[in-house]
Symmetry: none
Subunit: 459 residues, 2 copies
């Protein structure tokens, strides 16, 4: 790997220098992980000619800033859903309507957060940039989880996080490999296995942490009362969460520092698409304005997430879908939509490394960062949330990891692999669709409809 060019040293600190180097031979190293690059494909090149004519300088700056941030994405229209959701809530229209509007409003926000973290990364350098991305990469999932916790809806937290991992592993990856395979049907698509391997053994560790509390419940014999079992499962879950966070930190050190070259999207020079991918080399907005936007957007995400968490039961009743189906399938699809689109576009351009980076990166991030963090936050809030995601959910997670790990094992890809992953997702979704098993009330310890099974085994 050539020496790493420190970009920000060369660029004077002015907000709207907008030099775009067409297809530079080596992507500029400023924390451009797969995440940013995949959402960068949703960006519209904002032409500033209109704004330049505005006479006074500060106004011009603000306007160009606004244009960059708000109009800089193809999903701008979806921003309209945000005021509508707020209006619907204040005049309390139908709650399912609020649910729908808030969900739609979250999609462009997720993409903007990724855009903003990328802009900040210009100023903070690759390591901090990577860190920012590693934490805010799944901001929407994290915020929804914490708000659901605050409302003591532990089941929604578990379902939505699990659904997010499944959708990253099977849906995002499946569609990318499928469409990528069709677009490059003459060519054998290759990708770097090493990066995928790191994600897989971390995901397997996450699976272990979910499996043990679940099996603890099955293994519990008659003498142990349910509350005793739940206490054991809780302590185990909290310890495992701490261990998972340690693993995640080690993973960040591995990814952003010691083995960085593994994770950089290799620029395969023979790639015909190179010239099209015009990579923004310089930040379009200033650091502090970027930071302010990031904080503002996070607040709006929190607001919309609050609506979503509040109205999920009503949406479930009126749409006739179980809460588990909505949180496992619908929520993640909307939350990941921006990244998902980006991953497919890069797969089209036969840049599987980036699609893989997005899908597996997010899955690892949620499984080893967002989930344990929610358990720790629940612990602090005095809410009993354990890692036992229940038998149906944990087995689909196990199968999803095993099938994806097996499919990506030999470093090549074709459309059949994508199709199989996609169809597995359809089957799992169908399973949660028919699964009308009523959810236990969340007040007692976490989600465990199985507690009567515990007694049964001992009978």
């Amino acid at each position: 790997m050539g020496s790493i060019v420190e970009p920000w040293a060369a660029i004077a600190e002015n907000g709207n220098a907008n030099v775009t180097a067409k297809g530079s031979s080596r992507e500029l190293r400023h924390g451009r992980t797969a995440h940013n690059m995949s959402s960068s494909s949703l960006r519209k090149k904002s032409d500033l000619r209109l704004v330049q004519k505005v006479p006074c300088k500060t106004l011009k700056n603000i306007l160009s800033n606004l244009q960059e941030v708000i109009l800089g994405t193809k999903l701008t229209l979806l921003f309209l859903a945000i005021p509508l959701a707020i209006l619907a809530n204040s005049y309390n229209y139908g709650r399912p309507l609020i649910f729908g509007l808030s969900l739609i409003g979250l999609t462009p926000l997720a993409e903007r957060v990724s855009f903003l973290t990328e802009q900040l990364a210009f100023y903070t350098g690759p390591t901090v940039g990577g860190l920012l991305n590693a934490t805010c990469g799944n901001a929407t999932e994290l915020i929804i989880a914490i708000l659901a916790l605050a409302n003591n809806k532990v089941a929604v937290v578990k379902y939505s996080l699990l659904g997010s991992i499944l959708s990253n592993l099977l849906l995002v990856l499946g569609t990318s490999l499928f469409f990528g395979g069709i677009a490059n049907i003459r060519r054998e698509q290759r990708f770097d296995r090493k990066q995928a391997d790191v994600n897989f053994f971390l995901l397997l560790m996450g699976l272990l942490c979910h499996l043990l509390p679940l099996l603890l419940k099955y293994a519990a014999t008659g003498e142990v009362s349910t509350s005793m079992i739940n206490k054991m499962s809780l302590t185990l879950s909290r310890t495992s969460s701490i261990v998972m966070l340690i693993a995640y930190i080690a993973y960040l050190i591995f990814q952003l520092w010691t083995h960085r070259q593994l994770f950089e999207a290799q620029q395969d020079d023979d790639d015909a698409y190179d010239d099209e991918v015009s990579v923004e080399e310089t930040p379009v907005i200033g650091f502090w304005s970027g930071f302010a936007w990031l904080v503002g957007m996070t607040i709006v995400i929190a607001l919309l997430s609050e609506y979503v968490v509040d109205t999920i039961e009503d949406a479930s009743d009126s749409w006739g879908l179980s809460v588990s189906f909505i949180s496992i399938i619908l929520l993640p699809i909307v939350g990941n939509a921006a990244e998902h689109a980006g991953a497919i576009i890069f797969a089209f351009k036969n840049k599987l490394d980036i699609s893989l980076g997005v899908a597996l990166g997010s899955a690892t991030q949620i499984s080893l960062f967002v989930v344990p963090l929610s358990v720790i936050v629940a612990w602090i809030l005095g809410i009993k949330m354990d890692l036992n995601f229940n038998i149906l959910e944990t087995s689909s997670l196990a199968l999803a990891i095993i099938i994806t790990a097996f499919t990506l094992q030999d470093g090549t890809s074709h459309y059949m692999k994508g199709l199989v992953l996609l169809l597995c997702y359809v089957i799992i979704a169908a399973c949660f669709f028919v699964d009308q098993i009523p959810q236990p009330n969340d007040l007692d310890v976490g989600l465990q409809p199985m507690n009567n099974l515990g007694e049964v085994f001992s009978a």
Copy 2:
């Protein structure tokens, strides 16, 4: 891959042109998938000198045709079992005897069906030839399954299909790798991993479809009644079956059209055995006579399968074996005998690709074509058959897939790999031998010997 020679264009339409090109460098491409080639090793070169002396031309044609079809296989003797079985049935000798004779009669028929599909493939071209093979490859299993369904013996259908997948994955593959390894002990046997990979992730998808309905039953809490759970499991199974059939069709497109070169048995030129493998380049029987034979044989298979399905309980009582053992272990061994022998012979000749093609091809075909088809046929007949093969059977299927996938992971083979697969089969067979868990009457929904556990769940 060289250009594909269309053989039939060159050959005039006369039934008994019998030119055998000795050891041509590249096997003739006319849909010669591993299936046909493996049963071709059981063919006897029929010498037509005797028949040539017959004066009148049509008689000569018929006789040579008869000789080709009936005497063209080393298993001709077993044909005698068919009239005996029919006799035994009309004079209703001991029912276990009828069961035994019908089973034996089925073996040569399975081989002849594969021979006939290969002959027809000469006339229909590689794609249709491949399609023919992909559907009639496991004609006996399919016919037994549908007849058992018609008699509402859902348990027998499930057991026999599961047994067939297990025997393909562990027994056929195990013996081939074992004997192949012993015969080529000096050499490292290589095979093309890509083809095996495609089969494995399809099999994993099939596993997922069996696992979810099974777990749905375990996840059901007290509130949900057994009939409600069965209804959910049934809807889920039927949706998954449709998804499985879609996956199978995509697999056929992948195998016979877009990525055909992956599935053609590579002719490794340095192979010393080349000259011996005299490959029949031209059809020995006409298209319509081949077709007539195929229809005739299918009817005989149906007749024998009817006997088998009828007398299976009596055979189980008199031989002291449980129905599950007979259907999981005995039925598949007989049904696959012809292919099995062929796979071993090709493994001897260090042509592992063909043995793999047979074993994995059949396993995929049964898991993603015959099983979902039976569920759909049951649906049409109004019989409640779901994909829940129960915990013991599904776990042995899961282990079989994972062990075989792992063994074939690096593209090489030696006798130890074969031995391990073989011993796994013995262990699973032992498990079903001791498994005296009384079978539930098949009248209620599908196979769930666990239903006493089911009620217990809802207690």
